[in-house]
Amino acid sequence: MNSENYLKNISEIKNLMSKSSKFISLSGLSGILAGIYALIGAGFAYWLVKNSDRDYLILDGRVFRYIVLDMLLVLIFSISTAIFLTTKKAKKNNEKIWDALTKRLLLSFIIPLLAGGTYIIIILVNQHYGQTGALMLIFYGLALLNASKYTLGDVKYLGYTQIILGLISALFPGYGFWFWVAGFGFMHIIYGTIMYIKYDRK
């Protein structure tokens, strides 16, 4: 064997290592769209609260139910867009959308998210509203960080950003809404654009 052969060996080893342990078909465009949905949803929620009798949000009542519905819609649209665009990209990359790797990716993402979601619901039921935005950002950031070892490195930095935003948000209880808009809206758009430019446009 000559050195060209050895070089080929090494590059094949590297290729196999990343292919078998990282899912690279995550769509940047779906991040951008999720950010836009979040901004529209937040805009609608803001309008609802401003036009209600009170200026702030309480758990019972019509406005709160509309806002929950609004957020669920944002969530459903974001998830279905992500699934649709990522499946499309995976097909193009010849990568499998449902195998041991994507199962691991999804599981490591969902567990911190479910823990956080359940905790938020518990404290909402106990009528602690103030920290909801901060908690959503922190747990979402932890979920991203946890999942990032199975996918593109940018997801890790998005995770760090959300955690930091969440912690700052916790320091300013009255501004949770605006931190939520910054994290779920603008950060998704910024990181989505970076990923789109880096990986999608080829």
Partner: protein, 98 residues
Amino acid sequence: MKNIILHINKAFDHRIRLGIMSVLMVNDYADFKTLKELLGATDGNLASHAKSLEKAGFLKVEKQFISRKPNTKYYATQLGKNEFKKHINALEKLIKKN
């Protein structure tokens, strides 16, 4: 030079065997089907190369049935990981020499 050649491990001197070890270095385990798809190998080809790595003590094989279908999982042993690292280091040194 002689010293480097010493570390080039004959057990890894094949594309499929190199591939199996690469995948198992970064994953806790891999099953037969996953390996087959990643490496683009045939059943018989993969089985025989896996067998030779197992004989060398570099692989641990676990056979079980998942809803009546046979499922084979491969793990790299600590010995296998150490030997593979030495092999890669030797390859890199050889490339730099030339």
